[in-house]
Amino acid sequence: MSGEHGELPVAARVRRLEERLIAAGLATDEELDEILERVFSSASPVNGARMVARAWKDPGYHDRLLADGNAAAAELGFASGAQGYLLKAVENTPGVHNMIVCTLCSCYPTALLGPSPSWYKSFAYRSRAVREPRVVLAEFGLELPDTTEVRVWDANSEARFLVLPLRPESTDEMDESELASLVTRNGLIGTALR
């Protein structure tokens, strides 16, 4: 889990909810731990980065990823993590930058991006990303030209988003693992260029 998470008020709320569930006999501590272990053991932004690198390298995969994110995740062996929601990849182009937010809670494709960072769950990010995304991006160190169109995707439904960043120049010689190493979690959220 991300660093400050344990100190946030939400962590206290989650603990109270867990205690109530256990006290009511609806779940045991062991069951909850097992679920978390299952969810987080394989959840990593390395998975999303591998999908991006494959899309950069293989035009066929690129098209399949944009057409059907769940099938594209399954193709690389990430099927179990992408169950239960519709995975939608949104592609950055020279003129368009995408970023994702969940204004209602903190929805996010954990299996492919890893546990979500504290700031993604903060009220500040959730309220400001839809209102002043350029200011928020600048705070992340990403200054976009005025000519770049910014699209903010609010994950308010059963869809989860993954940003397909723009492939950097002068990477023609790189293999897929080298390309994957260029992609960060923030790049997959859209708060970094890649």
Binding site: T103, R131, E132, E149, V150, R151, V152, N156, E158
Partner: protein, 88 residues
């Protein structure tokens, strides 16, 4: 058959429901354009009360100027058909 097609102008309902909803307050009353039909999913507002009724969900793009009165970006939301009405 879906009520709206890509390109349709739609207005998000203004009503403030009593219970759970996936229509964020900031979009209420505002006009956007349907980008695509996302899927057919149960309406969460009813599902939380044990009533399971699936309906079309649309990806709807709102311009920042429409939502906030300023800004050049756009915000794309997935909105259930019940949340939407035709906009002129």
């Amino acid at each position: 058959m879906t009520r709206f097609a890509a390109g349709a102008r739609v207005r998000a309902q203004v009503a403030d429901p009593d219970g759970h909803t996936r229509l964020p307050r900031y979009a209420r009353g505002h006009v956007g354009e349907v980008v695509e039909v996302r899927a057919t999913w149960q309406l969460p507002d009813e599902a939380v009360r044990g009533v399971f009724r699936a309906e079309p969900v649309y990806a709807v793009r709102f311009n920042a100027a429409e939502l906030w009165g300023s800004g050049s970006h756009s915000v794309i939301l997935d909105l259930w058909e019940s949340y939407l009405e035709e906009a002129p």
